[in-house]
Structures are given as structure tokens and as C-alpha cells.
């Protein structure tokens, strides 16, 4: 047996020597373990980044020091100060012996002063305490009262003596000190001047000392166990006072440690460094103390998301912008998606989603170019019509009314259009419902034909009669129509193939093949007054003359799409009609009832029924006004809190994409029915979202919007202030969007897309900068109601929008709010038509030949319309009195690029002493002329 072979030590069960060896082994391992722990702590990513940044900073500082010293050498200020200091030093040398003596004396006096002061203070504290004791003794009727009182008296006398001595010593000391000061005054002044001139250098040198290479900085401060005293490598935290992380049971102040690695994020000068040592690319909007979002008040995660407290690349929740970056990160940082954090960072292209957190329901988020584009797309595509999003419902349905559809288009055109709108007009906002990924098979196609026929049958039977008056196109010219189309401003909203596309996507439909859709009569009636066919139409009245209507109609009629016209219409198979009817019926009644009901219906009835159910199934009424669906509820999933929905509630099906929210939404937008792939589903159970044919860029934008729809826990006072002014601005911006004002005008430095079609900006619609302080509200109101000619040289015309009083006021309030105008009613002073002031005005007016450009109608035929300016007859009614003199002083300031020359001021200063008087005189002259 094994045990018997061993030699037993009678006292020991085991071989102690062997145990000693084991002991040694485990002890060494323990040491290794401890070393490993220290190394792991020492070698953390953020420490390495900070080390790297320190070398960068040292290098930068050194460079700056050389640069600043170089500059100093050449700076006259510095040279002078240096010279002064030198000469003062020379001067001082002459009095060196005196100074030496004085200094020695001062030291002696200092000694006496200190001693006497000490004696005085001691005595003072003794008397204070005696006073206290006396009070106490008196209060308790103690016998010691007299004794204490005597002592106090004695001490007080001593104190007086000590005080006199001390003050004498101080006087002597101060005298000597002032003598010294007198001698050194000039040197000191020179030194102060020099310091001031070289303050930058001093600051930099101080910084270099603080961060530079040294034994203390390099070794001691960050050594293990010593690094609790004053480490140079530190976790940096931004604690934002009123933003909280919701841990469900507790709300914890939000702590962002991002700057621990992103050390230079708010420092200028590191723009070219790779991340994380890079400067934020938009310091004017974020982080810097002058931006609206200073780093100490907002932190990082409020915009970017992610786990602010984490010091680790992966756990911070970094999100790659695409697959390639994900691959790269996997290699570099062992990146993987963060599982246990509800709010991972948003990939770069989606960051602006978080603007919506605070800038909620705000139209045109300042500097939020992506989110603004996204909102435009969402409005145009009608996303929020089917998917309820609180606060985002559109006032007007994005699609046209279908109540009079029979008179507008043919049945055949309608069928083909519904089947595939993009085959007629590739840029249309109307999405495609049929023949998509989950309805591509033969059976589904047959059903689609039946459903399309059903919709057409339903719409036709419900259509109200409407007969546009007939027109003859005699004498109409396609060429002139084309010319008109380009000139009068149609291109502000529409595009057409004869003109370059200026805006993608358009506000109004592309009209390149409208001739295949509409009849001459209908077009003419529509152009004359769009509101009579469709009262809610956003198309304004262009105030076209009969002949203009004729030209435009014939031009539009000439635009045809032959490929679409030749497309074959797919017939509805009667058997499929029966089957589809039954299926729809089955959803609402028992099998038997459904069969009986189906048997009792004629083919027409069936089609009508299928149409009604299909419209309900696909929610067509969300975007179009359809008879019979006035109160129908939208069919889509509510998206108000979509981005806060837990990920497992999203069905990724069998689609191989990264399992995160943004990928799902993006995929859904690109291929709405894709998540049905590989699933057995009944036709009516399949996904129904239509295909919008978004470009990848557009899909990303819409995804950005959806990602912004989340639970809102930002405190109210964080949000942009909702004062009266802001409310007015938002109301106005909503109207700008609704009516596409920016298609023509530049408002708040955005828009004016039509201007690309004109040779110079002067030929296009005016920039509306500053109209709030420029126009009198009364005139503005009249103009919006019924536009009149202000700039006679323009071909483009301001349409009649037919605004309601409410909208009109909202618009005027908006422009005035932009310019902080609050007085609606203003006095224009009574002005005399004679006197010096009047004469000066007249003279100045004539001297500068204002009439040359500001001619009033009627214009003789040879007028040079190119260099015309608005007629001055409009001034008293149109322009605000206060504005006119501002304008005269500096037109370029109010409207950069204006053709109006500045006659009176240059660089903010009057050109002559009389200039200011002249301005006022001309202004007043304009009002009484």
C-alpha cells in the first residue's frame, strides 16, 4: 500500500520541508497578485490618456513660452519697461549705502515694534478676562469684587502705557519704511510695468512649473499608496446640480466623468488631436463659458447619453456610427454593445435627437441643423399623422383632400398612382403600400390589385360633384408659360424638370409630369383660385391674369409622363375579390355570418366594402381628407415615448442587424416590412407601414427625430425660457413652416431657396431680416391680407395666402418679437413743412439725389429697373419712424449687402459734425414731403 512505503515522521503528518516550499510558492503568488492589482490600477485607460495629454500640454506650453518670449523681445512696451527698470536700478545704486543703513535700522525698529506690540496684546487679553471675571463676581455678589476691581484698574493703567509705547515704535518704523520706499519707488514702478507687459509669460511659466517634468510630478505624486495626497492623474467629475440620473428608487445628481479622458474637450488648441484628446468641434454652441450650454452647467451626457460615471470606454456606452467603426473599436477597445444601461450614447449622426429633450415642441432649434431637417421631413412625410406623438400633430393633413377626386383625375390614373405613386412622380411624399417585401408573392399581388380597385371604387362613389369651368387655350404659349413659371415664384414650392432643383425634398409636388394627371380645365380653375377646390390647400393665390393662366396651363399640360401612361392597369380577379371580402368580414363577425353576408353582396358592393376596409387598414385618412373617416383614429403605434421603450419590445424578426434602437428604427424606415421576413403571417396580420423610399441620409434624419422621443426629466427651468416673446416666435415659425415662407424669403438667416434661380439676390424675394422693426404693423397687416407692389422691379410676386386674422397677427407678432418690438401703436410726431429743419432735409435729400433710385410710379418705359429702389411715397405709411434714421445711419448694419449706400456715417461715427442733423432732417422730410 502506498502509505506504508512512506517514512513517517512520528510528530508530523506531512513533510514540513515540502510544506515550506508550498508556503513559499503561494506567498510569491500572493505578491504577484498584489503587484498585479497595483499594475491594473496604474495602467487604467484614463490614466494613460491623461499622461498622454500631459505631454501634449507640456509641449504646447513650451511652444507658447518660446512664442511669447519671442513676441516680448519684439514688443516695444516690454523693451521700454526693461529700459526703465535698468535706469531706475542705476539710480538706486547711487544711494546704495543709504539704503543699506536704512534697512538695518528698519530691522531694529521692527524688533522694537514686535516687542511692544506683544506686551500690549498680552495686557489687553488680561484686562479683557479681568473684566469678565469682574462682571461674574458682581453678578454673584462675590467677595472678590473689590480685589478684582483693583487689579483691573492697575492693569488698565499699564495697558495705556503699553499702548503709547507701541504706537511710538510704530511711528518710528513707518518713518523709516517710507524713507526706504522713497528711495525704491521708481524701481518698483518699473518692475510693475514690466510684470504687466510679461504677465502672459509669467502665467505660462507658472503653468509649466505645475505640469512640467520633475521628480515630484513624474514619480512621487502618482506613486502607488502616495497618490491619495495630490495626484496629478485625477478622475474629473462634472456634477450638475439639477440634473438627475433616475435609479428608480433614488434620483442621484448626474455625475459626468467624461472629461477624465476627454481632457481637452473644452480647451481651445487641440482641434487636430485624435479622440479623446480633441477639442469639441462646436465650442460656440457647447461647453465654453460663453456658449448657451456651458460645461459646468450641462455636463456631457445630457446631449450625448451614455453612462457618465464610467471611466471605461465600453462601459461609458460609446456607440459606433457604423459597422466599420464597430469593427475598428472591437479591435482597439474590445468594444461591445452595453447591455445593462438603458441610455447608451447616441451614435454621432443621431446626437441631435437629444436636442428635443429640452427644445421640445420648438420649431427651428437654433443651430440644430440636423434635427430641423428631420422635423421638416417628418412633417412632410406625415409620420406623426399615423403615429401619435404628443405635441406634434399637424394642423393640416399633408395629403390633398379626396372629397372631389373624380373631377380631378381619371380612375385609371388613380389606380396606378395608388399602386405605386413613385412610378409617376419619384419625389412624391406619398408612400407605397403595395408590392413590398412582405407582399411580393403572386397571391399578395392579386390581393393588392383587388384592394386598389376597392379604394378607387370607394373614393369614386363618395366623391362630391365638381365641374371646373371649361377654358380654351387659344393663343396660349408654352414658352411664355415656362418663363412665367420660373419668374413669378412657383419654384419657391414646386420643382419642374426645365429648372434646376433647388430644394430636396420639395414643399409642393414636382410638376414635371402633371400633364398626364390633370385636365386643362382643372388646372386653370386651380391656378385661378386653389381654395375653391380645396379650402385648406396651402397653395396660395398668385393673382394670375387670364392670359397668364392660359400660358401656365398649356405649359403644365405639355409635361407628360408617357411611361406611366403606358403602364398596364392590373385587373381585379373576381375570386380574389370574394376571398378578400370574406376575410375582412371574418374579422368582424362569426364565420357563418360572414359567409352569409358575402353571399348577399354584389361585386360592386364588395369592391366598395373592400375599399372602405383597406382605407381603414392602411390609415389613408390620416394624411388625406376622406369622406366617412372623419373621426377615425390613427393606425400607427404611438411614438411619444418610443425611445424610452425597452429593447426587447422591438421585434427584430430574423433580420441580422445590430440589436439596438437606432438600427431598428433605421431599418424600419428603409424597409418598413422587413421584419416580416421569414414569418408565416396571414395577409391582414402583416406589417402595414408603407415604403417612403427614404435615402439613407433621410432615414438617418427621421431616426434622429424618433430617438429624441423619450421620457423627459429635464427640469423646467433648464429649457429655453417660455416667455411671451418665445411663444410668439414659435407660433410664427410654425406658420413659416406651414406656408413655406422660407421657400422664397430668408428668415432668421435660413431659407430663400428660390434665390438660387436668380442672377442676383436683388431679383429675388427680399430678405426679411429686421422687418419687425422696419414695418408699421398696420401696413404689414394690410400687405399680408392683400399684397401690394413695393419693389416694382421684381417679377417674382408675393402671393395672396388668404391668412386668417389670427395667422396674420401671429405672423406680425412673430417678426416683431424677433426684433423685440412690443409697441403696437406708435406716434409719428407732428412735423412742420417749413423751417430750417425742413429745409435742411430737403437740401440733403436733393444733394444725395435720393430720387434717382427711389423713383415712384408710374415709370417711363426707358426706366432702368435694374437699379430701382422702393418708392419713397410708401415711407409715411410703411416704415417705422424710428427705424428710418437707423437705416439712414448705417444700412449695411441693418441689411448686409443692401444696395443702399451709407451717406452719413462711417464705421459707426458721423462723417461730419452735421451728419446726425442731416439724418434726422431727411427722415422728417420723408414723412412730410
Amino acid at each position: 500500500m502506498a502509505e506504508n512505503k512512506k517514512q513517517f515522521d512520528p510528530d508530523h503528518l506531512f513533510n514540513i520541508l515540502k510544506l515550506n516550499k508550498w508556503f513559499a510558492i503561494v506567498s510569491i503568488l500572493l505578491l504577484l497578485g498584489v503587484v498585479g492589482l497595483i499594475k491594473k490600477d496604474y495602467d487604467r485607460d484614463w490614466k494613460n490618456w491623461q499622461r498622454k495629454f500631459r505631454s501634449l500640454e507640456i509641449k504646447n506650453t513650451k511652444d507658447e513660452i518660446t512664442k511669447v518670449s519671442e513676441d516680448l523681445k519684439n514688443s516695444s512696451e516690454y523693451q521700454e519697461a526693461q529700459a526703465k527698470l535698468d535706469s531706475a536700478g542705476q539710480e538706486l545704486k547711487k544711494n546704495e549705502i543709504d539704503l543699506f543703513k536704512l534697512k538695518k535700522e528698519l530691522a531694529d525698529h521692527e524688533n522694537t515694534r514686535f516687542k511692544t506690540d506683544r506686551v500690549f496684546r498680552d495686557l489687553k487679553s488680561v484686562t479683557d478676562s479681568l473684566r469678565y471675571e469682574l462682571d461674574e463676581a458682581k453678578h454673584h455678589n462675590d467677595r472678590s469684587v473689590n480685589r478684582i476691581a483693583t487689579r483691573l484698574k492697575k492693569k488698565e493703567a499699564e495697558l495705556q502705557v503699553a499702548r503709547a509705547k507701541k504706537e511710538a515704535a510704530e511711528a518710528v518704523y513707518n518713518k523709516t519704511q517710507s524713507q526706504i520706499n522713497e528711495l525704491t519707488a521708481s524701481t518698483k514702478a518699473a518692475q510693475a510695468e514690466l510684470n504687466k507687459a510679461s504677465s502672459d509669460l509669467t502665467r505660462l511659466k507658472k503653468k509649466e512649473r505645475a505640469i512640467g517634468r520633475s521628480f515630484v510630478n513624474d514619480v512621487l505624486r502618482d506613486a502607488p499608496l502616495l497618490d491619495f495626497i495630490d495626484p496629478s492623474l485625477k478622475v474629473k467629475e462634472i456634477i450638475v446640480d439639477d440634473l438627475y440620473d433616475d435609479y428608480n428608487f433614488a434620483k442621484i445628481k448626474r455625475i459626468d466623468s467624461c472629461t477624465t479622458c476627454h481632457v481637452a474637450i473644452d480647451k481651445v488648441g487641440y482641434e487636430d488631436q485624435p479622440n479623446p484628446l480633441k477639442t469639441h468641434p462646436k465650442l460656440d454652441v457647447y461647453l465654453s463659458s460663453r456658449s448657451p450650454h456651458p460645461i459646468q452647467e450641462y455636463g456631457c451626457t445630457i446631449c450625448h447619453g451614455g453612462m457618465g460615471g464610467s471611466l471605461d470606454f465600453v462601459h461609458a456606452g460609446h456607440a459606433p456610427k457604423n459597422e466599420a467603426q464597430a469593427k475598428e473599436w472591437e479591435k482597439k477597445y474590445h468594444w461591445h454593445p452595453l447591455k445593462h444601461w438603458d441610455d447608451p450614447m447616441l451614435p454621432l449622426q443621431y446626437t441631435q435627437a437629444n436636442c428635443l429633450g429640452c427644445h421640445k415642441k420648438e420649431i427651428d432649434v437654433p443651430k440644430g441643423d440636423r434635427i430641423n431637417q428631420a422635423i421638416f421631413l417628418v412633417e412632410r412625410s406625415g409620420c406623426v399623422q399615423c403615429h401619435k406623438v404628443e405635441g406634434w400633430h399637424l394642423k393640416n393633413k399633408p395629403g390633398p383632400t379626396l372629397r372631389k377626386i373624380s373631377s380631378k383625375v381619371s380612375e385609371e390614373w388613380l389606380s396606378k398612382w395608388i399602386r405605386n405613386p413613385k412610378s409617376f412622380r419619384p419625389t412624391t411624399a406619398m408612400p407605397r403600400f403595395f408590392d413590398l417585401t412582405n407582399t411580393k408573392d403572386y397571391e399578395s399581388k392579386a390581393r393588392s390589385s383587388v384592394q386598389v380597385a376597392g379604394i378607387v371604387s370607394y373614393l369614386k362613389s363618395k366623391a362630391q360633384p365638381y365641374e371646373p369651368p371649361s377654358v380654351s387655350l387659344e393663343g396660349a404659349s408654352i414658352e411664355q408659360g415656362k418663363q412665367l413659371f420660373g419668374d413669378i415664384g412657383c419654384l419657391g414650392c414646386h420643382s419642374i424638370d426645365d429648372y434646376p432643383k433647388i430644394m430636396q425634398p420639395q414643399f409642393g409636388p414636382d410638376l414635371s409630369d402633371v400633364g398626364s394627371k390633370l385636365s386643362a380645365n382643372w388646372i386653370a380653375a386651380w391656378l385661378k383660385n386653389p381654395k375653391q377646390y380645396w379650402p385648406d390647400s396651402r397653395m396660395p393665390n398668385m393673382r394670375l391674369s387670364e392670359s397668364e393662366i392660359k400660358h401656365l396651363t398649356s405649359y403644365l399640360l405639355s409635361k407628360r409622363n408617357t411611361a406611366f401612361e403606358e403602364q398596364k392597369l392590373q385587373k381585379a380577379d373576381p375570386r380574389v375579390i370574394d376571398k378578400t371580402t370574406l376575410e375582412f368580414l371574418k374579422a368582424r363577425m362569426t364565420l357563418k355570418e360572414a359567409q352569409e353576408k358575402a353571399a348577399s353582396m354584389s361585386k360592386e358592393e364588395k369592391l366598395h366594402f373592400i375599399g372602405e376596409r383597406t382605407i381603414a387598414h392602411y390609415g389613408c385618412y390620416s394624411c388625406h381628407d376622406i369622406d366617412g373617416f372623419e373621426n377615425a383614429k390613427p393606425i400607427g403605434v404611438e411614438l411619444t415615448l418610443e425611445a424610452s421603450k425597452p429593447l426587447p419590445r422591438f421585434d427584430f424578426g430574423f433580420v441580422d442587424i445590430p440589436k439596438n434602437l437606432q438600427s431598428w428604427i433605421y431599418q424600419k424606415l428603409m424597409e418598413p416590412r422587413i421584419f416580416d421576413t421569414g414569418k408565416e403571417k396571414a395577409y391582414l396580420d402583416r406589417l402595414r407601414m408603407p415604403q417612403f423610399d427614404f435615402t439613407p441620409e433621410q432615414a438617418e434624419l427621421v431616426t434622429t427625430f424618433v430617438l429624441g422621443l423619450k421620457k423627459d426629466d429635464t427640469p423646467l427651468h433648464r429649457k429655453p425660457s417660455y416667455d411671451n416673446n418665445i411663444d410668439r416666435i414659435h407660433a410664427g415659425r410654425a406658420l413659416l413652416h406651414e406656408n413655406n415662407c422660407r421657400g422664397c424669403h430668408i428668415v432668421e438667416d435660413m431659407g430663400g431657396r428660390i434665390l438660387a434661380n436668380y442672377e442676383s439676390a436683388r431679383q429675388g424675394p427680399p430678405n426679411l431680416k429686421g422687418v419687425g422693426q422696419k414695418l408699421q404693423p398696420d401696413w404689414f397687416y394690410q400687405f399680408l391680407k392683400a399684397p401690394s407692389v413695393v419693389r416694382p422691379w421684381l417679377n417674382v410676386r408675393m402671393p395672396t395666402f388668404g391668412f386668417s386674422d389670427h395667422d396674420n397677427n401671429a405672423l406680425i407678432n412673430y417678426f416683431r418679437a424677433l426684433d423685440r418690438q412690443t409697441q403696437n401703436y406708435e406716434t409719428i410726431p407732428e412735423l412742420a413743412r417749413s423751417g430750417d429743419h425742413y429745409m435742411l432735409g430737403k437740401k440733403t435729400f436733393e444733394t444725395y439725389q435720393c430720387q434717382n433710385c427711389h423713383k415712384s410710379p408710374p415709370y417711363p418705359p426707358d426706366t432702368d429697373m435694374e437699379n430701382m429702389a422702393p418708392p419713397l411715397t410708401l415711407v409715411p405709411k410703411r416704415l417705422r419712424y424710428e427705424w428710418v434714421d437707423d437705416w439712414l445711419r448705417d444700412p449695411q448694419k441693418l441689411m448686409p449687402g443692401t444696395g443702399m449706400p451709407g451717406f452719413f456715417y462711417y464705421d459707426g461715427k458721423p462723417m461730419t459734425p452735421e451728419s446726425e442733423d442731416e439724418v434726422k432732417a431727411v427722415r422728417d422730410y420723408l414723412y412730410v414731403r
Binding site: L30, G36, L37
Partner: protein, 358 residues
């Protein structure tokens, strides 16, 4: 490889795993002398190691096993296996010595030595070794933290701490008041009662198997099959929605399983007799109540008269009653499992009116 994985996935159902484990357990109990031999164990270990290596090539399985939460469970499996084998091997060895009239292992080693260094030194070395192990573990793996707890969002799957997963598995077959309250109580009380129930002096102070086959089997069945095996199932095979997944199957939260379980009363009154459920609760559940009472009250005397005759004489009445009650309570789980798998039985007694279901 792929085919093998599919086969294993298809084989891995609660039924097959549980029943085959019980079968292996029975064989081991029956032929322990052979099972503990290195000649048998070494191939078993090799097959296990190779099998594990093969399994680790699967992405899903690899992620599952290397999850920081699940590493202790993996360690536990190895240690439980080793120590069980070690004890049983010694027991078998002692049995052999007893039958050959040789002294026991323990008797041979019976020498008295000083605590220092014989005990303390080794303990000290072990202490350091374990510390080293923990240090390296903590360097290698981050704490498996999850997102902040949210009362409105339940994680899917919602799992108990790993050592309670056996109890959670019971919830599949029993109502919470049984699986969550009564049975855990019985386990604790039963474990405390064990020394008092068993008056058998054999095996005291030395390893043995043959003389205590029944008691060891009783205990090991409860521990290995009812506890450890259920933990393994709960950890590695129960996925989202508490659905059962094979070891190489992706955990799909959208997996749909048919739920067709029925109660004993429905089975009896509706399916067999075809007369509909009686209104009276007692009448409706009468059969179930009789069955349960019969199982707990009538069965012990019957057992005492038949297969446990010898045991009954050894234990005396009260001990036998307690032992039998605990034994039957333990067996109720496999019985319920088998009823579930064979006739889709949901509850034997189902009185949802009073939240009383067995």
C-alpha cells in the same frame, strides 16, 4: 458539428435530462463499486472535458458559461462532482475492507499529532492560496453589475440567485405557496431532523456506503438531482419567459410554447366523464383531495407494511412517520413532473377561489 449540436438541442428537454439523470443516479447507486473505479471515472472525466471543450466552441454556450455570474456555478459543478466521488470511493474502499476483515482507512491513519504545524500550517497555506485565487479572479473579471433596478420593468428572464434556482424550477410545477414557502421550509427542517431520524450507528466516523446505501441515496437524490441538477437547468437552460432552451440554442424572447395544461378535476369531470365541472368545490376537487391525503396519510403505513418493513422496525413509529413524510414530500416533485410531462396535469387540487392549488 452542427448536426451534433442540433441533436443535443433536440435531446435537451426537462423530461429527458431529468429522467436520464435519475437513471444514471439509480445505476450508480446500484453498482457503486464499479462506478467509483478510476477505470470508469477517468473516461467519464475525459468525455466530460472533451464535451465541454466541444460545447465551448459554440458562441451562445461560451457566452453563457463565461458570464461572470455563472462562473461560480461551473466551479461548483466540478467541486461537487469531485467531492462526491471522493467520499463514495472511500466508502466503497471501506466496504471492501470490512468484507475482507481488514482495518478501515480511518483506523490505519489514526495517529494523534499536534495542531501546529499539522493543521494550522496547512490551513494557512490554503488561506493564502484562496486569497491569491480571489485576487486573480478579481483582476480578471469585473463585478457582474446590471442596470439600476426598475420596479416597472422586470428583467427577462427574472432569475433567483443561482443557489435558489432549484426552488425556482419547482415553481414550474407547484404553486408559489408550496414551492416558495412549504418546500424550502421542509428542506431546512428536514436537514435539521436528519441526525435524529437516523439511529443507525454504522458509518459513524468513517466513510461507508453499503451499510448506508438507502440513507446516502436518499440524501444524494435530494441534493444532486433535486437541487444541483435543477440549478444547472435553471442557469443554463431556462431562458427568457422561463422557456426551455437547449445548450446551443439562442435565447429568443419571442419563443412561443404551447400551453395546454389541465387540472385533475377537468380531466376527470369533463374529459373522462363528460358531464361538466360540478358547482360544489369539494365535490369538484374531491378526487384530488383524496389523492393528496392518500399520498401523505395512507401511504406511510402501507410502506411500513411492505417495502420499508425492515426500516420501519429499525426506526420505530414516529421516526418512520417523519422520515416518510419528508421522503414523500421530496418525491412529490418528480411525481408532479412526470404527471406534467405525460398527461399535462396542471394541478391535482385546484381551488383558485381560495388560492389553494396543489
Amino acid at each position: 458539428m452542427e448536426a451534433l449540436r442540433h441533436t443535443i438541442n433536440a435531446f435537451a428537454t426537462p423530461t429527458t435530462i431529468y429522467l436520464s439523470s435519475v437513471a444514471l443516479f439509480a445505476i450508480a447507486m446500484w453498482k457503486m463499486e464499479i462506478v467509483v473505479k478510476p477505470l470508469v471515472m477517468i473516461p467519464v472525466v475525459i468525455v466530460t472535458v472533451l464535451g465541454t471543450i466541444f460545447a465551448l466552441t459554440d458562441d451562445h454556450f461560451f457566452k453563457l458559461v463565461t458570464l461572470p455570474d455563472n462562473i461560480p456555478i461551473t466551479i461548483m459543478l466540478a467541486t461537487v462532482g469531485y467531492f462526491t466521488w471522493y467520499a463514495l470511493k472511500k466508502g466503497v474502499e471501506n466496504d471492501k475492507r470490512l468484507s475482507e476483515n481488514r482495518p478501515l482507512i480511518e483506523q490505519e491513519q489514526d495517529r494523534r499529532v499536534m495542531t501546529w504545524p499539522n493543521l494550522v500550517y496547512i490551513e494557512f497555506i490554503c488561506l493564502i492560496a484562496i486569497t491569491v485565487f480571489l485576487i486573480f479572479w478579481s483582476i480578471g473579471f469585473q463585478a457582474p453589475l446590471e442596470e439600476p433596478a426598475n420596479p416597472t420593468v422586470t428583467p427577462n428572464p427574472a432569475k433567483a440567485p443561482w443557489y435558489f434556482l432549484g426552488l425556482q424550477e419547482m415553481l414550474v410545477y407547484f404553486d408559489p405557496w408550496l414551492a416558495g414557502v412549504v418546500f424550502p421550509g421542509l428542506i431546512v427542517v428536514g436537514l435539521m431532523a436528519l441526525p435524529y431520524i437516523d439511529p443507525n450507528p454504522k458509518g459513524n466516523g468513517y466513510y461507508s456506503f453499503k451499510d448506508r446505501r438507502l440513507v446516502i441515496g436518499y440524501y444524494l437524490f435530494g441534493f444532486l438531482i433535486q437541487w444541483v441538477l435543477l440549478i444547472v437547468l435553471g442557469t443554463f437552460m431556462r431562458g427568457p419567459g422561463w422557456s426551455f432552451f437547449g445548450p446551443f440554442q439562442e435565447w429568443d424572447p419571442h419563443k412561443v410554447e404551447a400551453l395546454t395544461n389541465i387540472n385533475l378535476s377537468e380531466l376527470l369531470w369533463v374529459k373522462l366523464l363528460n358531464i361538466g365541472l360540478p358547482k360544489n368545490i369539494l365535490l369538484r376537487e374531491g378526487v384530488g383531495i383524496v389523492v393528496v391525503l392518500g399520498y401523505l396519510v395512507a401511504l406511510p403505513p402501507l410502506l411500513a407494511k411492505t417495502i420499508f418493513k425492515k426500516l420501519y422496525q429499525e426506526l420505530s413509529f414516529i421516526r418512520f412517520q417523519i422520515m416518510c413524510f419528508l421522503f414523500l414530500a421530496m418525491l412529490s416533485l418528480p411525481i408532479k413532473m412526470i404527471l406534467r410531462w405525460t398527461i399535462n396535469l396542471k394541478y391535482i387540487v385546484a381551488i383558485p377561489e381560495f388560492f389553494f392549488n396543489i
